[in-house]
């Protein structure tokens, strides 16, 4: 067939079956279009679901970060049943386990590393890098991280809630502590100024914790304390219609031997310590040749990979998130927590009897033993009985605080009413004269005649057995209320703490009135009783140094130190919140709930003077770099379940108690206190300067161990600074960085 003859129409016309390919082609086109439509439809559905599933994957990753944060938070300050000494002993072994508690991980002992060239210290003239490293302790380098899956974070149910297949979905979270830095002041101080750390600190720690622990407490010479409550309360009386009723004698008679309480304090401490120290072997502790630091600033790093598989599918949606949060491991120990009242007195200020006895008009009382269980700033006889009942059951947790007044000069502090009990029973009078004591209740002769000699004549009711008619000698009955003095009472109202053999350390001289005299007793028919009449004369005596129940003569104390107080700029660096003044702090509603309770977590630093009142919840310190005025109650819940919550007030100026108030916190006030309202400090009070003339209204310090610190061991000077439970970990509320790395 040549080209000229070829006719396509004729060709097709002459061929059969051309319609079949035509129809097939059409069907093919239709099929392709249908397939395309179907495929498009399915793709669109898949794409739409994918958009939602990507979101769900991201939510799962965010939930993983939230859950892991919760895990860290729930562990980081929870010592649980961990023995602190065991922790220090076994910290290397414990940190070798990646699943170790975050309480342990956050309190890894670090060694100060210095070297290199840089300016990161912020220390003038110190052109070196300063960082922390636990590596030289031989701790495995995996100590700082923890890997968690969905089950460990409790997210399995959440995956199901999101519509995922929990058996196919995977969550892999890695949390790590990194970038650790010490809290260094601008002057170069790492620890507080009073703390000295040397090469042998750990060895000293172990050694001290053992045999010398009691000496650190100052309790090494205490054997058994025996308190005869019967004798103690025998003098107590109440007055009804002017008639003294000897309730003490009645109680003593009724309760008899039950009122004799024997506290083997040394035995108690021995039992506690032997159970702890028996775990320690020197060989367990690695020698450390550097400064050991626990307090630090660091970063918590999160790395999370999520493969979210929607139920009914097998294709994972992958999401990766990285985030960081700031961590601060902060020392929360109260200043000098073993002491009820601590006055450093580097200025060697000295005040005479009149200044101490009259103060500024208000009473200055130190209740070295707070047995008031309600922190109300008051206690009654029932509290005394309950305390002693607890003491014999070994469940007592409160113990007396020590008192320290530093400086080289003698502080002449009149003994006041305290010495009626303070000297008891060493100076047991022949006849107890409670109910008729002092100038205020005496009428002859000095009360009537100005300039009369220091002698009085009084009627009294002898409560002890005396001859119905006779002459009784009155000797060594002490009442130091001369001329209205006695406004300073370093042993509180009822002198419970002297009974426990504690004393005021420092250069304190006590002057007191001794009474010598004679009296006669005679019966009267109605009401049937025996009455006495006596004549006596005051004599002034001076005892010093110290202010003690047993009149020991300790050496003058001039080498005091205030522990646990850092430099102001260190507090600023480790603060969770920083305010430029007190007004900003008090008006910040973001840290207060609807009831006005302030949530405190870590250090709240206020620059300059501040006026504060209110209720606080949480653990932390309020640091005021200036004068602090308290114009109302400052309360804090000291316990959360069985855990003690540290809360203290640090003031680098003067503390002004301007209103009637109750402060439930240990307080450090560098420049002392002025009291213009009746105030109760429930905790302890530590200062560098003090002037009794500024106590214009009543100021009572109630030493309360559970408020001054975290644990028994952390109270111990030198040793206590390595106790893990005195440090609190504060996790920042906000992420420093947060980024989604991958979604597919």
């Amino acid at each position: 067939m040549n080209a000229r003859e070829f006719n396509p129409l004729k060709y097709f016309r002459n061929k059969r079956g051309v319609t079949i390919p035509l129809v097939m082609s059409i069907i093919f086109i239709v099929a392709m279009l249908s397939y395309f439509s179907l495929s498009f439809s399915r793709n669109q559905d898949a794409k739409t679901f994918h958009i939602v599933n990507i979101e769900k994957g991201r939510l799962l990753a965010e939930a993983a970060v939230e859950a892991s944060t919760y895990k860290v938070r729930s562990e980081m300050n929870n010592m649980s049943n961990l023995n602190p000494v065991k922790m220090i002993k076994d910290v290397v072994t414990m940190l070798g386990n990646p699943a170790a508690s975050w309480f342990i991980k956050m309190r890894v002992p670090c060694v100060m590393i210095t070297g290199g060239v840089g300016a990161s210290t912020g220390i003038g003239g110190a052109n070196v890098d300063v960082s922390l490293s636990p590596d030289t302790l031989g701790i495995p380098n995996t100590w700082s991280e923890q890997k968690l899956d969905a089950g460990a974070m409790g997210l399995t149910q959440f995956i199901r809630e999101l519509g995922g297949d929990d058996s196919k979905s995977k969550v892999s979270m890695t949390i790590r502590v990194k970038d650790m830095k010490p809290v260094i002041s601008n002057s170069g101080t790492v620890l507080w100024p009073g703390a000295a750390v040397d090469d042998s600190v750990v060895q000293n720690f172990v050694h001290t914790l053992g045999s010398k622990l009691l000496s650190f407490l100052g309790l090494d010479n205490i054997a058994v304390i025996e308190i005869n409550l019967g004798d103690f309360i025998r003098g107590l009386s109440i007055s009804i219609f002017g008639i003294p009723i000897p309730v003490g004698d009645i109680l003593a008679g009724l309760l008899g031997k039950f009122l004799t309480v024997k506290i083997d304090l040394s035995g108690l401490l021995d039992k506690i310590l032997s159970s702890i120290t028996s775990q320690i072997q020197l060989g367990d502790i690695m020698p450390i040749k550097a400064s050991v630091v626990i307090e630090k600033l660091a970063t918590l790093y999160y790395s999370c990979r999520v493969e979210f598989v929607p139920a009914g599918t097998s294709t994972p949606v992958v999401t990766e998130i990285e985030a960081t949060r700031d961590i601060k491991v902060v020392d929360m120990a109260a200043p000098n927590p073993l002491y009820s009242f601590y006055w450093l007195n580097k200025q060697n200020s000295t005040y005479g009897e009149s200044a101490w006895g009259n103060t500024g008009g208000g009473k200055f009382k130190v209740m070295n033993l707070n047995i008031d269980p309600d922190y109300s700033g008051n206690f009654e006889i029932s509290d005394i009985l309950n305390f002693l009942k607890a003491a014999v059951s070994l469940s007592v947790i409160r113990f007396p605080g020590r008192c320290y007044i530093g400086g080289a000069g003698k502080q002449k502090i009149p003994t006041g009413l305290n010495d009626l009990l303070l000297l008891y029973p060493g100076h047991t009078p022949a006849i107890t004269m409670f109910g008729n004591w002092g100038y205020g209740n005496c009428f002859l002769p000095s009360a009537f005649f100005v300039g009369a000699p220091g002698g009085d004549a009084i009627p009294w009711f002898p409560y002890v057995s005396v001859p119905p008619l006779g002459v009784i000698g009155i000797v060594k009955v002490v009442a130091g209320l001369s001329n209205g003095c006695g406004k300073t009472q370093l042993f509180g109202d009822f002198c419970l703490s002297p009974a426990l053999d504690l004393r005021v350390l420092g250069n304190v001289v006590k002057t007191y009135k001794r009474v010598d005299g004679a009296g006669i007793t005679f019966p009267i028919p109605f009401p049937p009783c025996i009455i006495g009449l006596g004549l006596y004369m005051y004599r002034t005596e001076e005892k010093g140094y110290s202010y003690s129940f047993k009149e020991t003569e300790p050496k003058a104390e001039t080498d005091g130190v205030i522990e646990n107080i850092y430099m102001p700029d260190q507090y600023q660096k480790k603060a969770s919140m920083v305010y430029k003044n007190g007004g900003d702090f008090m008006s910040d509603s973001t840290i207060r709930d609807s009831n006005g309770v302030t949530m405190i977590d870590g250090v709240i630093y206020i620059e300059g003077p501040a006026t504060i009142r209110g209720n606080f919840y949480g653990a932390g310190q309020i640091v005021v770099n200036g004068d602090l005025t308290v114009n109302g109650d400052i309360t804090h819940r000291p316990k959360d379940g069985s855990r003690l919550l540290p809360f203290s007030i640090i003031c680098f100026g003067n503390l002004n108690l301007s209103a009637n108030c109750r402060v439930l916190a240990p307080i450090y006030a560098k420049k002392g206190v002025s009291c213009n309202g009746n105030a109760h400090i429930i905790g302890n009070f530590v200062c560098e300067e003090f002037n009794p003339g500024r106590i214009s209204r009543d100021l009572t310090i109630w030493y309360t161990p559970e408020i001054t610190t975290c644990s028994f061991l952390s109270l111990i000077p030198l040793v206590g600074r390595y106790m893990p439970d005195r440090y609190r970990v504060v996790l920042a509320n906000q992420f420093s960085t947060y980024k989604v790395n991958k979604i597919k």
């Binding site: 129809v23 279009l33 739409t48 939230e66 409790g154 959440f158 405190i600 949480g618």
Partner: protein, 162 residues
Amino acid sequence: MFNKLTKQIFSAIISKRAFSYLEILIALAVLTMALFPSLNMFTMFKQYTLYTEDIQISLRLAQEKVEEYKAASYAELKALINAGKKNPEPEIQVNRQTNTGGLAYTNPQYNKFKRKITLSFLNNDQDMILITVYVWWYDGVFAGGDQRFIVLKSLVCKDLVL
């Protein structure tokens, strides 16, 4: 019988002049019929685009509430649950609300969306609060059950101070 008739028809067609034009016309007609459903694709594309847009809007609306409730403290959320307010925002039309920034949803595209928020404890663990946000809308006839919805969930754990 059928084959005979078919042969006659084809024979008649083939035997006629200009049959190819007719054939092409028929082919085009069939092709047009085949392409006709594909014309619907454009509508379908548009529908899917709108649907995707709705999904995106609903996701953002849900995320907005998730973030809003996550920003509240654990204590506040727990207090709501314990006070019996497990549905703090029950079935509220979006355009009747303002967001946390105080802005109203004035755009008409928000008119069809509704939201609901529920709070519960995950696995009855009082330390983990589950925030569930439902966003739904009707795409077409209500009676036809053309309801679309998305559900997002988020977790807030106890904010331990200690």
